[in-house]
Every structure is written in structure tokens, then in C-alpha cells.
């Protein structure tokens, strides 16, 4: 066998391996999206492709169509969790997204209805540390590749050349490069979705704008955490718990974390005078769909 056919075989084997835990998700009109059997009885897909809360079904690798119930969704990280009966299919075998470097070969998988698995091939283009998506969710690491996410590939797995799952591909978070929600972030979000149906994000209840050296409060919602703590319009936030806030980014990253219900101390400039105010961070009200 030539080197090339051996390589071709390896790619097909990787697809076959990962496809055993890859399902088709029927939760929107027309084209289905893809999901991954992440733990027994729980399928993960992208939030944006779950366009209804009821009448959701999955097509399993053996072609069987089974009902699924929506456990929860997190628009910030573009993840949704669905529950099915246990023991219906194998659980995804996991790889390590943190070990990836630019140039590693990867495949994106999909299942569109009762056909076989589909694949797109490419390379990791860029990796990086913790980041916050434009939708507000915090992701443990940046994982971008040049694989093309065809229609229906959203919610499917990115796998390595062995067929081990590295994360969930998100059409909504992708730009010119495909963006993958790394497996460790999927674990973290899934845990919250399974226990409370949503992901709590910190909330101050104030409109803010960056200014020189900090962030100024432009308006404060009544009864919101900022109002209850006695913050005033015009206050300039320059730090949280001793960490500098010199632009919106550190503040938004802080609020995106697991901070709801925690007491923090804000460093402020009020009328040009430095002061400190304790705030009980609230939980961002859930968006109604």
C-alpha cells in the first residue's frame, strides 16, 4: 500500500471511529444539524441550531430515530444539551485539545439525517489561551482550523487523526476559520446545564463605557446589583478585587466567569476621589426565547 493510501485509510478509520458517537439533530426546519453523544444519555450540540424546545429527535448511527428532550442551552458558549435514553450508542472518545498546535491535521464530522457520516479535512490554524466569544461565553482555549463547516456540520465534533474528539464545532462562532468549542469547556458548561438548565453569568445591571483609565457607569437599572450597592452614574470603575480594570474587556471577562452570588470590592473614582464599594454580583436575567 502506498503512503498516500495508508494515510487515506487512516483518515477514513478516524471518521468511522468518531462517527459511532455522532448523531443527527432534528431541531430546526429543513437541514438537521449534528450532535455528539458526550456522556451516556446526553448529546451536546450547538445552541443556535436548536431552534425549538420541543419535538426534537435524533438520528443515531444505526439509522434509528429517537426522541430527545432539551436539558438546557447556553447562547454565550453556543452549546445546548439534549437527553436521550442511556445505552443507545457509544460515548465519544476524547482527545486533548490543549495538546494541539498549528499544523496538526483534523477532521470535522457531521451526520445529516439517515445517511452515513460526513467529513471535512484540514489543519489546525491557530491555538491560544482563554477567550470570550462575541456571544459572551468564556472558552478555555482558542481552537481554530481551516476545515470547512458545511451546512449541517454545526454541533459536530472536531477530531484528530486518530478519531478522538477535541471539541464541538460552532458555525455561529466561526469566521473565515472554523471555531471549535474545546472539550474542557464543553464539560464545564454541560455540568451547569445538567444541574440547573442554564449557565449563570455575572450581572451588575449598569450600562458602561470605557474612558481613560477605567470604565464609567452611564446608567444603572433600578434594583440591580449596582443600584443595591449604591453605585452612582458617573462612577469610574478602575479595579475589581485588586485587579486593574483599564477597559471593558477585563470587566466583561470577570462577569462571564462563575461569579454570580459572590461579593466583590470595586475600586472606583468618584468625583476624582478613589474609593471602594462592595457589590454582590447578581445573575444576568435569562433571555426569553
Amino acid at each position: 500500500m502506498s503512503t498516500l493510501t495508508a494515510f487515506s485509510e487512516q483518515l477514513a478509520n478516524a471518521v468511522a471511529r468518531a462517527s459511532q458517537a455522532t448523531v443527527s439533530v432534528h431541531a430546526r426546519p429543513k437541514l438537521p444539524s449534528t450532535g455528539v453523544h458526550w456522556k451516556d444519555g446526553v448529546v451536546v450540540t450547538t445552541e443556535a441550531t436548536v431552534q425549538r424546545d420541543n419535538d426534537i429527535t435524533l438520528t443515531l448511527p444505526d439509522g434509528k430515530r429517537v426522541p430527545a428532550t432539551l436539558v438546557g442551552r447556553d447562547p454565550g458558549s453556543d452549546l445546548a444539551a439534549l437527553r436521550i435514553d442511556q445505552g443507545l450508542l457509544p460515548v465519544a472518545e476524547r482527545g486533548d485539545p490543549a495538546a494541539l498546535r498549528a499544523g496538526h491535521l483534523v477532521l470535522a464530522l457531521a451526520r445529516l439525517g439517515d445517511g452515513g457520516p460526513r467529513a471535512a479535512f484540514g489543519a489546525v490554524s491557530a491555538t491560544g489561551g482563554r477567550w470570550r466569544s462575541w456571544k459572551g461565553g468564556e472558552l478555555a482555549l482558542r481552537l481554530q482550523s481551516d476545515v470547512r463547516l458545511y451546512p449541517g456540520f454545526g454541533g459536530g465534533p472536531l477530531v484528530d487523526a486518530e478519531g478522538l474528539v477535541l471539541g464541538i464545532n460552532s458555525g455561529g462562532l466561526s469566521g473565515p476559520l472554523a471555531t471549535t468549542i474545546p472539550a474542557n469547556t464543553v464539560d464545564r458548561i454541560l455540568e451547569q446545564l445538567l444541574t440547573r438548565g442554564s449557565v449563570a453569568r455575572g450581572w451588575l445591571g449598569a450600562a458602561m463605557q470605557p474612558v481613560r483609565g477605567g470604565v464609567v457607569l452611564l446608567s444603572i437599572e433600578p434594583e440591580a446589583p449596582a443600584a443595591l450597592a449604591g453605585l452612582l452614574v458617573g462612577d469610574v470603575v478602575i479595579g475589581i478585587d485588586g485587579r486593574a480594570v483599564d477597559s471593558l474587556e477585563p470587566l466583561l471577562t470577570f462577569l462571564a466567569g462563575d461569579v454570580a452570588g459572590k461579593n466583590v470590592t470595586l475600586d472606583l473614582l468618584r468625583g476624582g476621589v478613589r474609593t471602594k464599594v462592595d457589590v454582590l454580583i447578581g445573575e444576568r436575567p435569562r433571555r426569553t426565547r
Binding site: T3, L107, A119, G152
Partner: protein, 188 residues
Amino acid sequence: MTTATSLAPVAERLTRSVVQVLSGPGGGAGVAWAPGLVVTNAHVTRAKAAGIVGPDGAQVRGRVIAWDGRRDLALIRAPVELPCCGTGDPHLRPGELVFAVGHPLGVTQAVCAGVFQALGKLPAGLRLPRLDPRLDWIQADLRLAPGNSGGPIADALGRVIGISAMILGGLGLGVPSPEIEAFVKANR
């Protein structure tokens, strides 16, 4: 030989069977299927005559002897002396390597590589109203562009499994080789 360099000889061998088909404002690629016979897409050559440019740049005049608009195939008789392509079974496994040769946007004899996705009918929700939904297609992760039409799609050994015909949702679609074989047999 390393994996990274082993596609080159396979692709190079295939390009020797690939021609340009010049026909009116359109045009595209074609593949030497049998002695004196070039296969391309019906949408590449709507006229009765077409110019055939070989890999060496020499141009001859070809005559369209059969045309199937539904299956998007045309058969051209032309005095070309090129090695005929070898054909292969298009029933590949998803993820297997495939490559295409064509002239995307005027770049002649260009090779693009990708992976096989499926052989069969297009999934519901990814269909075009003007396309017969009963048609089977090679569906591949291949970045085709205008000018690839009529050019071969081959497996890792360079065996032609079909010809490029269309791009749908970014997906490369090809006419499977057994249907081409039957078309050529019926019309030669």
C-alpha cells in the same frame, strides 16, 4: 516517500489526461475517457463544436456527439492523443482522500485535495429546486470553482471516480464514474 509528497506523482499522472474545453462564453475541463473521446459536463459545452486544449497547450477541434442535460454529461469526439484516465469505484469511505484536477477561474491543470463525504442523493434540505432529487452524486470536501466543471475527481491512487459538476453549499458534487461509463458506452 513521505505522505506530504506522495500526491504529486499521482496527480501529475492524472493531469496528462485532462483537457480544457473551450465553448462559447463558458468552457471548463474534460477528461480523456477512451481513445479519441473526451467526457465533460453538458453545461460546459452547449454548442455542437468545442475547442479541446491538451495539457501541452495544443488545440484541436472537437465535435459533441452526445449530450445528457439531466445527468449533466457531454461526450466529445476529438483527435487527441492522450493517455486515457483509469477509472475506480466511487464507493469510498467517508474521510478517504480525493483530489480534483481542473482549471478553476482560469488556473489551468490545478489540483485540489480533500476528502470524500458521500455517494448518493443529496440530503433533504440541501437540494436545489431545479435539480432532479433522484440523482446520485459524489459529495466531497473539495474546494471546486468555476472551471473545475468536467474535470476528474480521483481517489488516492489516481483512479477517476467521477467528474466535477457543481458546487452546492460549498460542497463539491460530481457525476459518479459508473454513470459516465454507461453514457460513453451507449454513445460512442
